[in-house]
């Protein structure tokens, strides 16, 4: 049976959780249809240390490409290498629907004239076709597509498949770079993690988000304090807040920002404009604190507190600290 390729995304010498999600997805397909999982791991020398983690999540073979030129992301060298590899015959290739994945995967598909399913939340493989679901229209409509070309190129929305350990041999094989990476026209000159080393919105099990109800930038401290009390929370914001420069644009949750699906989303002083709700709709549990009991956020919140965030947040932060300490 044909094999399944999974791109194990890395950044700054680290394997990303999204990479383990793609390997887990590829494993699910290989277990159902036969064939092996081939994980592709690309990075600066040393990245091979993550091959055992790829194997633990279900890679039969880990194809490792190490080169000094991959200290930063090098899209053109990776695209050429993946296209060459996929040409040798695969049933499907999984990528993360991340900033890097989106940059990479459509180029691979266009180079090979293959159908590409972007930002997929569910997939089903049959002999001659792959059917996928991809939420669109700010997650208000679920689109179902059929891909008939082989290999099927798929990027997975963060959290659509959670990493599961399913250990396989994980034989390590070197992967040759299809072009001299130094000849790439696109050059990444710097990669830097955001200040503070916070958990990314896409990875955080808990998100505490703030809106205009916080009245001024300094009060965002209350949101940060609550996030810190959880210990595994990221801070998000509405567009109004990022437009006013209270928070960076990268914190914006909504139609034109990040689409997130944490286990717990706490909306603080957020009225719930449709463009914001689009970004958090798929969260498992939603809490809203807002002083206007008619605010639309209360229509989607599992638990609402009508009240002033400035008064409620410090009390909630203390209560969460105590709950965590007692846990």
């Amino acid at each position: 049976m044909a094999n399944i390729l999974a791109f194990a995304e890395t950044r700054l010498g680290e394997l990303r959780r999204a990479g383990l999600e793609t390997i887990t997805a590829a494993r699910q397909v290989a277990d159902a249809t036969g064939g092996q999982v081939h994980a592709v791991l690309v990075g600066a020398p040393g990245i091979a240390q993550f091959a055992p983690r790829c194997a633990a999540h279900g890679a039969d073979v880990v194809l490792v490409l190490e080169h000094d030129a991959f200290a930063n992301y090098n899209p053109e060298a990776i695209v050429a290498t993946l296209a060459a590899r996929l040409g040798s015959g695969y049933r499907a290739a999984f990528f993360a629907a991340s900033a890097q994945g989106h940059d990479l995967v459509a180029r691979v598909a266009a180079k090979m004239k293959l159908a590409y399913a972007s930002d997929v939340t569910e997939f089903a493989f049959a002999a001659d076709r792959v059917t996928v679901k991809h939420p669109g229209y700010t997650n208000k409509i679920v689109q179902t597509f059929v891909l008939k070309a082989i290999p099927a190129i798929i990027s997975l929305r963060a959290g659509a498949v959670l990493p599961v350990e399913n250990a396989k041999a994980g034989t390590v094989e070197p992967l040759a770079c299809a072009i001299d990476p130094a000849t790439a026209r696109v050059k990444v000159t710097l990669t830097e993690n955001a200040a503070g080393g916070q958990i990314d919105l896409g990875d955080a099990p808990v998100i505490v988000a703030g809106g205009r109800g916080l009245k001024e930038k300094a009060n965002f401290k209350l949101v940060e304090d609550l996030a810190a009390a959880f210990g595994n929370a990221a801070v998000g914001a509405t567009r109004a807040v990022t437009d006013d420069g209270w928070r960076p644009h990268s914190d914006q949750i909504g139609q034109t920002g990040r689409l997130v699906s944490p286990d717990l989303y706490i909306a603080c002083g957020i009225s719930g404009a449709i463009q914001h709700l689009a970004g958090l709709r798929t969260s498992k549990t939603i809490v809203a604190i807002n002083k206007d009991k008619e605010a639309p956020i209360f229509k989607v919140a599992d638990y609402g507190i009508v009240g002033d965030v400035m008064e409620v947040l410090p009390v909630l932060t203390e209560a969460v600290k105590q709950a965590k300490a007692g846990a």
Binding site: D103, Y116, T131, Y137
Partner: protein, 250 residues
């Protein structure tokens, strides 16, 4: 400098959507349409480049039925110089087929820089820019939040999840535009009048092969109606109890 911007006409996302009886389209009745947000930013960025240089030309391209001419006219009224309507009367769900038609139009246009939004807000595929760049054989920097074009080199900043990159590439190139650079301006009355006299070419879209077929549209399951558990800080103990015992997230 010659710039091209590919724009898409999309329904207003604030609207309530219904699925049409065909099952593969939304019911257009009562919906407002406009340029996709990020495509508006891309048009604005291109127009600002020519304004700053005091030279250059911005061509706006859109694919679809005749109504996309409204969207093209809006970009002209913002300050773009000419428009191309790639006529395609039936909807197409395959992004690579659409990008093939866009690339066919762009190929011999002598464009230094092609700009697109980082995604269309309706289909949310985030792929058209990369498809177009690959089909044209030029470099692409996607989802950028800062842009400088100088001495034939594009310098940009890309936002990643919890990080950023600084990226460079030579012209000609494709870039896709994220939040943070520019918001689309509102056309002035003078701009709207001037747009009426600007050239608009109309030609058939030369689509690529269709291998990605839309099968069905559905509305997602509704969330259960929300519940208010109390008022003010006195409600905090009950919230903490529910998060622990019912939702099991604390």
């Amino acid at each position: 400098m010659k710039l091209a911007v590919c724009v898409k006409r999309v329904p207003d996302m604030e609207g309530r959507f219904k699925i049409a009886s065909s099952g593969v389209a939304i019911d257009e009745a009562g919906l407002k349409y406009d340029m996709s947000d990020f495509d508006g930013y891309a048009a604005e960025v291109a127009i600002q480049i020519t304004e700053k240089l005091g030279a250059g030309e911005v061509t706006i391209i859109s694919l679809g039925p005749d109504v996309v001419q409204e969207t093209l006219r809006k970009a002209l009224s913002m300050g773009a110089h000419r428009a191309v309507h790639l006529k395609q009367d039936t909807p197409v769900s395959d992004g690579l087929a659409i990008a093939t038609a866009l690339a066919a139009e762009l190929k011999d246009g002598g464009y230094d820089l092609v700009l697109l939004g980082r995604m269309a807000v309706d289909t949310q595929n985030r792929s058209t820019g990369a498809f177009v760049a690959e089909l044209l054989g030029v470099p692409i920097i996607s989802a950028i939040s800062k842009l400088e074009v100088e001495n034939g080199v594009v310098k940009a900043r890309r936002e990643l999840e919890g990080a950023y990159e600084l990226v460079e590439c030579p012209l000609p190139a494709v870039v896709t535009i994220d939040e943070g650079i520019a918001r689309a301006r509102y056309p002035s009355l003078k701009g709207i009048m001037a747009a009426k006299k600007k050239p608009m070419d109309i030609k058939p879209a030369q689509l690529g092969a269709i291998t990605y077929q839309l099968e069905k549209l559905e509305l997602p399951a509704e969330r259960a109606a929300g519940r208010i558990i109390g008022e003010g800080k006195d409600a905090v103990p009950e919230l903490v109890r529910l998060l622990k015992e019912e939702a099991k997230v604390l």
